[in-house]
């Protein structure tokens, strides 16, 4: 994709632990066009959050980006001075986190926490202007009594309201890219639907691109146009949501889809056998093969490349290697 807003190329993020190197993100490439919403899906520990943290420069020690490029608007974030990068963060790129209960500072009013981002990035704005703008964004984010809520502390707000405050904080500078790291995981289902609806609405109004990190395929189906499935630090399958849901290729994606509960079915819920491998002791060959029901001998010692069974649809699995061309059983 040439007109991509965000172009992650061959990103490597490694944690230098005492027990050895943990390659949390291992050669990931992701493209997001302006205004597009892209889902990153996978189990816990697959590297989806770490990809976002690498992008935002929020990695905790001993984690380090040690390879690849992250181009945002043509600028390489990995090569940027921290000072210049901070000018983008919270301004052109912003992020919503999974835990609304703990992601706000308990001793500062929510209004001031949102206003802070505005005063930091829009220097020309006066305090009063900034305050009015925050109240306006609170209203956009569906916070009732916005002017009153402005001076309340996080503990006075419910989880759903706090997540709306986080969204307001992320949207207040009209970013080009919003990273949402499991924004609804900690919320109950009705609030989840409201929050997703709000994000969709804001995204359409402002034309913001969204990177939606989730383990919930339902959220992806509802929210995203394209999808990356990650497993053990690698992208396993990518393509449009329509294509992947219609024509799922990778055994792992297939397993994820079959693990979604179905109200009509009386059958026992499917689960992918085995566990996510320890990142310290990754299997040789394909990382998914010990859990894969289609695994072949070669899967255990060779790593599959990315193959393209249909245009724009990429799969990291030998079953889709062109010359073999065989259909899966």
């Amino acid at each position: 994709m040439e007109d991509a807003l965000l172009q992650i190329r061959d990103l490597h993020t490694t944690f230098y632990t005492r027990d050895g190197l943990v390659r949390a993100v291992d050669g990931v490439s992701i493209d997001i066009a302006a205004g597009e919403s892209v889902g990153i899906v996978g189990e816990s520990g697959c590297g989806k959050s770490m990809t976002a943290m690498s992008l935002m420069g929020l990695l905790k020690k001993p984690g380090k980006v040690d390879g690849g490029t992250i181009l945002f608007d043509g600028q390489d974030l990995t090569a940027m001075a921290p000072k210049d990068k901070r000018k983008l963060m919270g301004n052109r790129i912003s992020m919503i986190f999974q835990e609304p209960m703990t992601s706000l500072n308990p001793v500062i009013t929510v209004g001031r926490q949102v206003q802070e981002a505005l005063l930091l990035h829009k220097r020309e704005m006066s305090r009063t202007e900034a305050k009015n703008r925050v109240i306006q964004v609170f209203q956009l984010a569906g916070i009732p009594d916005a002017a009153k809520r402005y001076q309340e502390y996080p503990h006075q707000l419910s989880g759903g309201l706090r997540q709306r405050v986080m969204i307001a904080m992320a949207m207040v500078c009209d970013p080009g890219l919003l990273i949402a790291d499991e924004p609804t995981t900690a919320l109950d289902v009705t609030i989840e639907a409201q929050i997703l609806h709000l994000m969709k609405q804001l995204q359409e109004e402002k034309g913001t691109a969204v990177m939606m990190i989730t383990h919930n395929l339902g959220v992806v189906a509802q929210f995203c146009t394209r999808l990356y499935v990650m497993y053990a630090g690698k992208v396993m399958e990518s393509g449009t949501v329509q294509e992947i849901f219609k024509n799922v290729c990778h055994p792992y994606t297939e397993g994820l889809m079959r693990s979604v509960p179905d109200m009509e079915s009386k059958e026992r819920l499917y689960n992918i056998r085995g566990m996510v491998p320890s990142m310290l002791h990754l299997p040789k060959g394909c990382r998914f093969c010990p859990r894969c029901q289609y695994s072949m001998a070669r899967c255990f010692d060779q790593e599959p490349g990315l193959y393209e069974p249909s245009p724009g649809h990429f799969v990291r699995c030998f079953l889709f290697e062109p010359e073999k061309g065989e259909e899966k059983p």
């Binding site: 000072k83 919270g90 986190f97 992601s103 802070e116 930091l120 904080m169």
Partner: protein, 306 residues
């Protein structure tokens, strides 16, 4: 808020009465005759009889306790057996010296302890961190009497090592007390700040694009100082109630010295007076800590107001 404070003050009254009672009983059990302390051994029998009568010494302990409590409510804590002056005036005389020493030591310890703790947390495991924490550990673990004597030895001839007649006399004892307090404060600030820096809202603040200095001063510090405020209040109240060892070592006529002298001469009214004074100061310190805490932490403020 006002209601909360009044409630807290009312609660302290039974605590104070209980403390007075305990001290009274304990000191009544201690052997020793106050009249011997006052007059020496060669006193006429009729004088002893007359004085015992007027001082209620022949009454049972509960009657004497009632008398004591009654007088105490009226601000009279008795007369020192040894010094023959009222206990209240003795404490009122000694307290300003203790106050000056306590305030100097406390300001010294905060001015050094808090920044040292912040630097140690931010530059964890750096040379500065090890240096500060080494000093803090010494301050916390070396007892005041040895620090005091070492300083007296080193600075003998440069600074006054005993007495209390000029501000210069304050320097060494304030250093002894301040070093200890600063050590505690620095260690607490460091560990608390390190904990807060791991919190999710720090990640949010960084994601906003704030510079590391703004993240620490604007977002982490206020949260990390909450336990430190409590520690500061406890420290200042213990300093205000008289630093027994330091005051004795440097011959400072403060409340702590008064208590030591009272013990040495079995001067029960004076000892009772100083212990009750200490209790009152510590209770006031805890109250101040609670109030400050609720000012700093909005989560407590709301619950207290309800």
């Amino acid at each position: 808020m006002l209601k909360y404070i009044i409630k807290r003050i009312l609660v302290t009254i039974p605590v104070l009465i209980g403390v007075v009672f305990l001290i009274f009983v304990m000191l009544s059990v201690v052997p020793g005759d106050p009249l011997t302390v006052m007059m020496g051994e060669k006193v006429k029998v009729d004088v002893i009889e007359r004085l015992s009568q007027s001082m209620h010494l022949n009454d049972p302990w509960y009657v004497r306790f009632a008398w004591y409590l009654w007088d105490a409510i009226h601000g009279d804590f008795g007369t020192s057996y040894k010094l023959m002056r009222s206990v209240s005036s003795l404490i009122a005389n000694a307290f300003p010296k203790t106050l000056m020493l306590a305030v100097t030591a406390a300001l010294l310890s905060w001015a050094i302890g808090i920044p040292a703790g912040i630097i140690s947390a931010v530059r964890k495991n750096s040379l500065a961190d090890h240096l500060f924490m080494g000093f803090a550990l010494c301050g916390v673990s070396i007892p005041a009497f040895s620090v005091g004597m070492i300083l007296q030895n080193i600075f003998n001839g440069i600074l006054p090592v005993s007495g209390f007649s000029s501000p210069r006399h304050l320097i060494l004892p304030a250093l002894v007390l301040g070093w200890n307090a600063a050590g505690t404060i620095a260690r607490l600030t460091r560990s608390s700040l390190l904990e807060v820096l791991e919190d999710d809202y720090i990640r949010t603040a960084r994601a906003k694009g704030l510079a590391p200095v703004s993240v620490i001063l604007g977002h982490a510090l206020k949260n990390s100082l909450l336990p430190v405020i409590t520690m500061m209040a406890i420290q200042i109240s213990s300093l205000l109630s008289g630093a027994v060892i330091t005051e004795t070592l440097f011959s400072i006529p403060g409340v702590g010295r008064l208590a030591v002298d009272a013990i040495n001469s079995r001067d029960m009214p004076l000892l009772q007076g100083t212990v009750i004074f200490t209790t009152a100061v510590i209770i006031a310190g805890n109250l101040a800590a609670d109030i400050l805490y609720s000012v700093a932490d909005p989560r407590i403020r709301v619950e207290g107001g309800k």
